[in-house]
Each structure stands twice: as structure tokens, then as C-alpha cells.
């Protein structure tokens, strides 16, 4: 992937606006965002607290309705789909990793990983499954319930679950927010590997400049607007940009 060729976008937002509430109580969480997320790339979204990162992600993933604008995943415009269509789209094309409460406590790690496929009524690709398990390094933990796993292991299970259905895009909202730096690094390294080796597309919201530095590109939000971006970031360049934003 070189910079010269026009990059194919997996997810595109045009004029994305999101207003919570009405009248005096209205909160303009997103004020018209135009952004594209390249396929087979790892993009991070950063910004101060309350800048609209989570809102943007929810709108991109079709979890929340938008006030105005368009979101296109692959070749489907998802703004305008009804709940059922959105659900089916999520099933087929989107994967999720949340900050916490990622797993069903009653299911084993393996069952949690296979859950999206089961819901969609699809068969697991055994080769892919083995490869995912191998990369995440969870082989000996597959029969354990989430309660018996560490936080880092739980997040790795969540990552494996997001990968197993080969979605067009994986959205991750502060996936390392609850982890110590070592477990966090493991998960992030794994995310990057899945982009490189499996050709995944990942969009990740984070607060942490180090986490953002694992990405190929970082976009910055402030007050519901896209204000800046950094290609091939390092912790230092990210930190600098943040400082500039908050100043």
C-alpha cells in the first residue's frame, strides 16, 4: 500500500451531524464531519473528552441514528436503513470491541468468539479460527468463562470475536481503556497484526497517544468537528498535536 495510489475507503461519512435533545437543551455532538477510513488500515480517532468520538463511532457503526449527513459502509449507505436492515448489516459487515462488558458471562471464551457467526447462522472457517486463536494466544483458555479470565485476556477474546466473522470494518471504543500498559500493548499489537496479516480494517477510539501510535493514521476531533490528522503517528507526534488542540 503506497501513498501514491488512491486508497479505497471502507467507511465514509459525509456532512455527519448529530444533535442530542432539542431546543435549549440541544447538544451538538457532531457538527458536520466529512471523513473516510481506508480499507485494510488501522485508523485511530482522538480528541478531548466530550469531543464526540464515541458518538461518531456509534453513528459510523449504525448503532445510533444520525441527525443529518450520510454514512457509507463499503457500498451501502446505512443512513436510511431501518433497524432490521441495520442489524443484518452489523451481523455481516461490522465487528465491535468495547471498553468493557464485551463478553457474555454465561458462555465460554470459545463460544463467545463464535457467537457472531452463530447469530448469523454461518460456519466458522476452521483455518481462520485456528489462525486467530494462534495469534491471540488463547488456545489453552478456550473453555474458560469470562469470569475466569484476566481483563487483558477478556479483551483478546473480544478481539478474536470481532475478527472471526471477517467484517468489512471493526470499531473499537477505547479497547485498552481498562487494561494496564502491558496487556494494552498486547491487544494493540494484535490489532495491528490483524490489519497487516489478515487485511482487516479497524477504526479505534482512544485517549492514549501510545495506543494511537499503533495506528496507520490518527484523526482528531474537537467540539464535534474534524480538526486535524496525522499519518504514520508516533506517540510524540500525537501528543504534540493534542497539545496544540487543547491550547
Amino acid at each position: 500500500m503506497t501513498t501514491t495510489t488512491q486508497v479505497r475507503a471502507a467507511v465514509v461519512a459525509r456532512g455527519l451531524t448529530k444533535v442530542y435533545g432539542e431546543g435549549d437543551a440541544a447538544v451538538h455532538a457532531l457538527r458536520g464531519i466529512d471523513v473516510g477510513f481506508a480499507a485494510e488500515a488501522f485508523t485511530a480517532i482522538m480528541g478531548p473528552s466530550g469531543s464526540g468520538k464515541s458518538t461518531l463511532m456509534h453513528c459510523l457503526a449504525g448503532l445510533d441514528t444520525v441527525t443529518d449527513g450520510q454514512v457509507i459502509i463499503g457500498d451501502v449507505e446505512i443512513t436510511g436503513l431501518n433497524d432490521k436492515q441495520l442489524t443484518l448489516l452489523r451481523r455481516e459487515r461490522v465487528g465491535f470491541i468495547f471498553q468493557a462488558f464485551n463478553l457474555l458471562p454465561t458462555l465460554t471464551a470459545e463460544q463467545n468468539i463464535l457467537l457472531p457467526l452463530e447469530i448469523a447462522g454461518r460456519q466458522a472457517d476452521q483455518a481462520l479460527f485456528d489462525r486467530v486463536i494462534e495469534t491471540v494466544g488463547l488456545r489453552d483458555r478456550l473453555r474458560h468463562k469470562p469470569g475466569e479470565l484476566s481483563g487483558g485476556q477478556q479483551q483478546r477474546v473480544a478481539v478474536a470475536r470481532a475478527l472471526i466473522s471477517k467484517p468489512q470494518v471493526i470499531f473499537a471504543d477505547e479497547p485498552t481503556g481498562n487494561l494496564d500498559s502491558r496487556s494494552g500493548a498486547e491487544v494493540l499489537a494484535f490489532l495491528r497484526r490483524s490489519v497487516r496479516e489478515l487485511g482487516q480494517t479497524i477504526v479505534m477510539v482512544t485517549h492514549d497517544p501510545v495506543a494511537a501510535s499503533y495506528a496507520d493514521r490518527v484523526v482528531f476531533l474537537r467540539d464535534g468537528l474534524l480538526v486535524s490528522e496525522v499519518e504514520r503517528p508516533t506517540p510524540q507526534t500525537v501528543l504534540d498535536t493534542l497539545m496544540a488542540l487543547e491550547a
Binding site: S54, D64, T87, P116, E118
Partner: protein, 829 residues
């Protein structure tokens, strides 16, 4: 603390409503019972009081007075002669079989022939009889038979002769249960005695010309000597008291069902508070962190339950008032003769309702409140509420085993005992103990059971199905209490179903033995003339005609019914079962004795007994002792010829008729009807009719009991709904996650429905097992020789209905879960 509790309660109004509803229904049922019985009691008192004022003194015979336990005729003259008596009217009562429009006597029992004092008789249309040829008829019989004033009615007199009367009016029998049941024709006193042949009077009503009732009573009592004289008011009180006993039985019966409903409600409340405590773990811990003592935490839960109990009891009382009023309205609408007063909540009802409601609610919340005090303050700091894995404790198993052993032991003792009340009580006590064992073991058995119940759904409904089954197993304690509430109702319903179906088969078998015939002829008065049997025998359409005759006679010095049966029928039409000896070749001066009489008199096969009557003595040799409960034969059965020699020609008490093979029932029936047409007192019954009546009676009992138990079931469904909605609340994040991963709204709803289905099925399975086991045990204590029958269809219906009801209970919680927004659920922590 008080304020915190109340704000907490108000913040969760829906939860409050669901929890309260269980208690509201339970208390409502109990209050409704009181309202209904109070209203009926008031109605009785009012009408008795109204009656009482019309009569000043009532004279009734002392127990065991002669003749026929009536007042002698001389008493009337004696009363009339007393100073201060304005009028004295006698009451006469006997049999006057009324002949209906079909030319046959009416009803199963002879219509009563009475004379009622003018001061007491309630004429509803026309007038009271004043001449010898006049009569009035009770309202129900008149309506059923289609008689109106102006018509001519025919009754049979004491000699069985037809007597015609001019119907001048219709009267209301009022509260006389006997007259209401048999129907009544009222005449003038003279006619009543002539027709019925009654000697003396059953009652004399005295009206004063001035003296107070008390003074008059003393005077009358002195005049009649050996009789009871009371004032009209005392008499009314006495009758009212007798009726009160009736309503208190009804009250007790209904309260029993109320208690079951409250037990179920208590389980529901217990479970709800348990879940609430578990969910508010963090809240409690936070309270402890900021300085609340264990006592305060405990107090806040108890206080919450007190408020819930109080509120629901008040609502329950109102519901009860509504239920009672509804029942009274229904009673009035169907036109029963039960009098009803004004519907109201008595202070007693209010006290009982409030107490039971508050006490049950608070008692049910005690254990959860104690649980709440165990939450350590550090729990507030933990991020995720851990799934508390359930481990089977030793104490639990030991307790369950103790209860189970004691219960099973008691049950076995009851089953192995001779049938009777003691045996039944032992079985019931055993049942209660076993139920407790199940209650204790619930969390242990609910896991494998929900696996079993969920086997099919998990395979049928894909991922949602499998998730549902594992959800139903994840908190065994909660699932167990939820399902046990349903188990209570299902157990009792199954129990009743097994009992009634076994009774039905047993009785049907006995009917076959007792009435081995198509038709049974009997006479309402006297005997059936012998010509009837002769006419029947002449018909080719009938295969067997068996006559039964009987007379009272002294046997070995004591009076018994001695009878005989058509000689040729023995061993063919009827097959008496002998416990010793045999009736083969029965004849000559032989006798067969019923087992209970043989035991009484201490006679056995080979002994000789002597029948004595009318100065005649006949020695007879005992050749068989018969099992009485399966035999139609009298205590002593003689051979036909010997009977005739001793007693002379006696009419038939009963005739059994069997149609020939291949003869259409209508045709055989016509032959029988024709042969008896000339004898209005002879009634023809068919075995199918008898069986039909019995079936109807059993069906209506089953229906009433099932209806009353439905309340307990409804309450347990509220419990399922409550548990589910609290679980849904608890699993908001999980549901959101599943939705994010692509579970559709419908699938999420389906998941909760399946979970409810599994809970319902588990409750039903346990209930059915217990119900069948105890239904069987109870039938074993009723009589010997029961033919146990499992009402498989009914049981399957119970199981299916429970599952369905569970699904129904899940509708609202499931809708709420499906409607929640994914983002919102993910956002709040």
C-alpha cells in the same frame, strides 16, 4: 435512611407495581371471601329477623318425641287454650309425590307435602290455600314443571292414589334447604295430613293477643308439657346459627385457596427482594462505605417491604370488595335462593386483610434483608458484579434429605395403612414435608431440569434458544424460587386431576358391578307392583329382568333388612362376590350375609341364623359372606321361595333390566316406559344417565377447584414476569452487546420468551411429578380396590399451558428489552 428508602421505591414504580400485584391478588381473594360470606350471613340474618317478627312463640317437638318425632295433635288444642294466644297454626310435613307433565313423579326424591302457617308462608303469586281442594306449589318446581296458578296438579297420596288439586298460588320455600331440594306442595293443614298421612305436627306457630313473647312462651311451655317452646326471635337466632355453620365451612374452604395464593405470593415477594438486593449490591455497599450500619441497611429493606405490604394490602382490600361484590352479583344473577345483604368491608375483614398482607410481605423480605447486610463495603469498589456461582452446600443437602426421608416415610405409612382419614392425613403431611424438600433442593435440581426442559427449544430456536437455556440456568436460586411458585399451583391441579380421574374410573367400575344392567327401576313411594316385572319379562326385547325385594325383620334378635333376588339372576345377571363360602347352587333355607353384618353378629359360613317377623321364625344356614361394597344385595339374602314363604307376597324394591343384544336403546327404553306408564311413582333410570350425572358432578368439582387454583397460577406468572423483567434490567448491557453483534429485536424477544418457556416447563414438570405421586398416594388412602388412572391428556395440557403462560409472562419484559437503544445501554455503567 427512611427518605433514601422512599425515594428508591418511588424511583422504581413499575417494580413496585409488579411486586405489589402478587400480594394485592392474595389479599384480595381473602378479603373477597370474607365479603362474600359476610354478605350471605347478613342476608340470612335479615330474612330470619323478618320471619321472627311475625311469630311470637314457636313450639317444636323435643328430640325423639312420638309419634314420628312430631308434636301430638293434642298439643294444638292445648296451645290454643292458653290465655293470650290469638292464633296458633300448625305445620305439617310429609311426602306428596308430585306428578309432572310426563305422567311420572318429579325429581329423585318425593316432593314434600306440607302445610305452612299463613303467617309464615311467602306467597309470590296467587294466594294461600284455604279450601281442601286447593294447593300451592313452590316457585322452582312450578317453573321447572311449567305449572301456573289456575292449573290442576296431581300428587300421590299415602296410599299411592292420584289426588287432584286446584293450584291457587305459588310460594317461596325461603331458607328451608330440605324443601328447596325436594320441592314442595302446600295444602291446608287438614288436607296435608290426609294426603301425606303425617301424624302430628312438626311445629306450631303462636301469635300473641297481647302478652310479651317471653310471658307467652312460659305459658305455652306449661301447656304443651313435653315440647320445646321458644320465642320467635330465639328460634330465628337458632336457625341463623345453623346457617352460619354452613357459611363458615364455605369460608374455610375458600380461605384454604387464599392461603395457597398467599404462599405463592410470598415466594414471589421473596424472590423479588432477593433479586433487588443482588442488583443493588453496589448501592448497599456504597451506603455502608459512607457510614450506614448493617442495621440501617437491614432496616431499609424491611421498611421497603412494609411499605409495599401496606400499599398492596389496601389495594387488596379494595380488590376483595370488588371480588365479593362480583360474586354476590353472580349469585343474584343466576337466581340462587341464597339471600344476600349489602356488600361491605367489615372491620374484621380489614384487620385480617391488612395483617396477612403486611405480615406475609415483611416475612418474605426478611431473608433477603439479612442477605443485604452481608454485602461488604468494598463491594462498592469492584467494577464488575461477578456472577455468583451456586455451589451445593452440605447443609442444604442434609436438610433436604431429612425432609425428604421424613416426608417419604410419612407418605409410605399413610399408603400402607388401611384406607381412612388417618391415612389421608399422613399422606398429606408427608406431601408437605416433601414439598419443603423440593423447595430446599430447588436450586440443585433446577439446572438439570432446565437442561431437560430446554433440550428441544435449544435445538429449535438456534442461538437465541441456546442463550435462553443457559440464561435460565445461570442463577439456580432465582430460577428455583421463580419456578417453585408455579409448581405449587400445578402440583395441586395435577393432584386434583389424578384424584378425580381415578375416582371416575373407580366409581365407573363399581357402577358396572353394581348396576350390571341397562335400566334400573325404583319407586318413590312404596314398592313396585309385581305386574311390572311380569310385563317386562314378557318382552322379547329384554334379556334379563332381576327383581330385588326386601323387608325389615329381626335376625338373631336385631333388626336388619332381609331380602331376596330373582333366583335365576344369581350368577348370570348379578355376580355377588363372596369373601368366604359361595352362592353357587343357592336355594332352600340358605342365606348369604354381607361382610360387615357377619362381622357385627359374629356369624360365619356354616352357622345358622334365625329370621323372625310377624310371629314367624325361619332358621337359615349361612352359605356365603359377601363383599358389601361391590354388592347390591341386602345384609341378608334369602332364596326367593323361602323369602316368599316367610314374608308372603312383597312388591319389588328395585328391578334391573337388561336389553337383549342388538336391540336399539330407544326401543328397549320404550318397552320399559310402557310397562311402567300406569305407575307414576315408578321411576326409570338408565345406567348411562347415572354415569352422566356422576361425571357431571366430578367435572364441576374439578372445574371449581381448578378455577380457584388459577389465582395461585396467575400470581406465580406475575413472579415469572417480575423475575424476567428484573433480569432484563440486570442484563441491559448484555442485550445491547448481542444487539450490536447482530441479534435482531425479534430474536432478542424470542430469547426471553424461550427463557420464560423453560422456567414455566420446569415448574410444571416438578408440579406434575409431585401431583401425580401424591394423587396416587391419596387415592390409595380413600378406599380399597381403587383403579388408578393417570389423566395423561390433562397433564399434558397443564405442562403445555404452563409453558405457554410463561411465554405470556415474558411478553412485557421482552418488549422492554427489545425496545432499549443499543447505544444507551452501552453508555450507562
Amino acid at each position: 435512611m427512611f427518605r433514601t428508602t422512599l425515594t428508591g421505591l418511588l424511583a422504581h414504580r413499575l417494580r413496585l407495581v409488579l411486586t405489589s400485584l402478587a400480594i394485592v391478588l392474595g389479599v384480595g381473594f381473602i378479603a373477597g371471601t370474607f365479603v362474600l360470606t359476610d354478605t350471605i350471613d347478613a342476608g340470612f340474618s335479615q330474612s330470619f329477623a323478618a320471619d321472627a317478627d311475625k311469630v311470637d312463640v314457636v313450639v317444636t317437638p323435643k328430640d325423639g318425641a312420638e309419634p314420628d318425632g312430631n308434636l301430638p295433635e293434642s298439643a294444638l288444642a292445648a296451645v290454643k287454650a292458653v290465655q293470650g294466644v290469638k292464633d296458633a297454626q300448625p305445620m305439617v310435613s310429609g311426602d306428596a309425590p308430585l306428578i309432572g307433565k310426563d305422567g311420572k313423579v318429579v325429581g329423585d326424591y318425593p316432593t314434600a307435602g306440607v302445610s305452612i302457617p299463613a303467617s309464615r308462608i311467602k306467597i309470590t303469586s296467587g294466594r294461600a290455600p284455604s279450601a281442601a281442594a286447593e294447593a300451592v306449589l313452590d316457585r322452582n318446581t312450578a317453573k321447572a314443571q311449567g305449572f301456573a296458578p289456575g292449573a290442576t296438579v296431581t300428587v300421590l297420596d299415602q296410599a299411592g292414589k292420584r289426588q287432584e288439586f286446584h293450584l291457587v298460588g305459588i310460594f317461596d320455600v325461603g331458607l328451608d334447604q330440605d324443601l328447596a331440594y325436594r320441592g314442595a306442595v302446600a295444602f291446608t293443614p287438614g288436607t296435608a295430613r290426609r294426603v301425606t298421612g303425617a301424624k302430628g305436627f312438626t311445629e306450631i306457630d303462636v301469635i300473641s293477643s297481647g302478652p310479651s313473647p317471653e310471658r307467652l312462651r312460659t305459658a305455652v311451655a306449661a301447656a304443651v308439657g313435653d315440647a320445646e317452646a321458644v320465642t320467635g326471635r330465639e328460634h330465628a337466632d337458632e336457625v341463623a346459627k345453623r346457617n352460619h355453620v354452613d357459611t363458615s365451612y364455605m369460608r374455610l374452604g375458600l380461605l384454604l385457596f387464599g392461603a395457597v395464593a398467599l404462599l405463592v405470593a410470598a415466594l414471589v415477594i421473596y424472590n423479588t427482594f432477593n433479586i433487588l438486593v443482588a442488583q443493588r449490591m453496589r448501592e448497599m455497599a456504597l451506603l455502608r462505605c459512607i457510614g450506614a450500619t448493617k442495621r440501617q441497611v437491614f432496616g431499609s429493606i424491611v421498611l421497603e417491604s412494609a411499605v409495599v405490604g401496606l400499599l398492596s394490602s389496601v389495594l387488596g382490600l379494595l380488590t376483595g370488595l370488588g371480588l365479593g361484590a362480583g360474586a354476590v352479583a353472580v349469585l343474584r344473577a343466576v337466581g340462587t335462593d341464597i339471600p344476600t345483604g349489602t356488600v361491605s368491608l367489615s372491620p374484621q375483614t380489614i384487620a385480617v386483610g391488612m395483617c396477612t398482607g403486611v405480615v406475609v410481605t415483611m416475612a418474605a423480605a426478611l431473608l433477603p434483608a439479612r442477605q443485604a447486610t452481608r454485602v461488604p463495603p468494598v463491594a462498592a469498589l469492584r467494577t464488575q458484579v461477578e456472577e455468583h456461582a451456586f455451589r451445593t452446600g452440605v447443609v442444604r443437602v442434609v436438610f433436604a434429605a431429612l425432609f425428604l426421608l421424613a416426608g417419604a416415610g410419612l407418605t409410605a405409612v399413610g399408603v400402607l395403612q388401611k384406607p381412612g382419614q388417618a391415612a389421608l392425613l399422613a399422606v398429606m403431611a408427608g406431601g408437605v414435608l416433601v414439598f419443603f424438600a423440593v423447595l430446599i433442593l430447588g436450586p440443585v435440581i433446577v439446572r438439570p431440569l432446565s437442561g431437560l426442559a430446554g433440550w428441544v427449544p435449544a435445538r429449535l430456536f438456534g442461538v437465541p434458544g441456546r442463550l435462553a437455556v443457559s440464561n435460565s440456568r445461570r442463577n439456580p436460586k432465582r430460577a428455583a424460587t421463580t419456578t417453585v411458585a408455579l409448581t405449587v399451583g400445578v402440583t395441586l391441579m395435577t393432584f386434583m386431576a389424578v384424584l378425580t380421574s381415578t375416582m371416575r374410573t373407580t366409581v365407573s367400575g363399581q357402577l358396572d358391578q353394581q348396576f350390571p344392567a341397562d335400566y334400573i327401576l325404583s319407586s318413590q313411594t312404596g314398592t313396585i307392583p309385581r305386574q311390572v316385572a311380569d310385563t317386562l319379562r314378557a318382552s322379547r326385547d329384554l334379556a334379563a329382568v332381576t327383581e330385588f325385594r326386601g323387608k325389615k325383620a329381626k335376625v338373631n334378635g336385631r333388626e336388619f333388612e332381609v331380602g331376596t333376588v330373582t333366583q335365576s339372576a344369581i350368577g348370570t345377571a348379578i355376580e355377588p362376590e363372596a369373601s368366604s363360602g359361595t352362592m353357587d347352587g343357592f336355594g332352600g333355607s340358605e342365606v348369604a350375609v354381607a361382610d360387615f353384618v357377619a362381622q357385627d353378629l359374629g356369624v360365619k359360613v356354616g352357622d345358622t341364623v334365625t329370621v323372625a317377623s310377624g310371629g314367624r321364625k325361619t332358621p337359615l344356614k349361612v352359605v356365603a359372606v359377601l363383599k358389601a361394597d361391590v354388592s347390591l344385595l341386602p345384609p341378608f339374602t334369602m332364596a326367593e321361595q323361602a323369602f316368599e314363604q316367610h314374608f308372603g307376597t312383597v312388591g319389588d324394591a328395585r328391578i334391573l333390566v337388561d336389553a337383549s343384544d342388538g336391540v336399539a336403546p330407544e326401543r328397549a327404553r320404550k318397552v320399559v316406559d310402557d310397562a311402567t306408564a300406569a305407575y307414576p311413582a315408578v321411576k326409570v333410570g338408565s345406567t348411562t344417565e347415572i354415569r352422566g350425572q356422576f361425571d357431571e358432578a366430578i367435572d364441576s368439582i374439578l372445574m371449581i377447584v381448578t378455577g380457584l387454583l388459577a389465582l395461585a397460577i396467575v400470581i406465580s406468572l406475575l413472579g415469572i414476569a417480575n423475575t424476567l423483567s428484573l433480569s432484563v434490567h440486570e442484563r441491559t448491557r448484555e442485550s445491547a452487546l448481542l444487539r450490536a453483534l447482530g441479534l435482531t429485536r425479534t430474536q432478542l424477544r424470542g430469547m426471553l420468551s424461550v427463557e420464560a418457556l423453560v422456567l414455566g416447563l420446569v415448574g410444571a414438570i416438578v408440579g406434575v411429578v409431585l401431583g401425580v405421586a401424591y394423587g396416587w398416594a391419596a387415592t390409595a388412602t380413600l378406599t380399597e380396590n381403587v383403579s388408578f388412572r393417570l389423566p395423561i391428556e390433562q397433564i399434558l395440557i397443564f405442562i403445555a399451558a404452563s409453558g405457554l403462560a410463561g411465554v405470556l409472562a415474558a411478553v412485557l419484559p421482552a418488549r422492554r428489552a427489545a425496545r432499549a437503544s443499543v447505544v444507551g445501554a452501552l453508555a450507562d455503567s
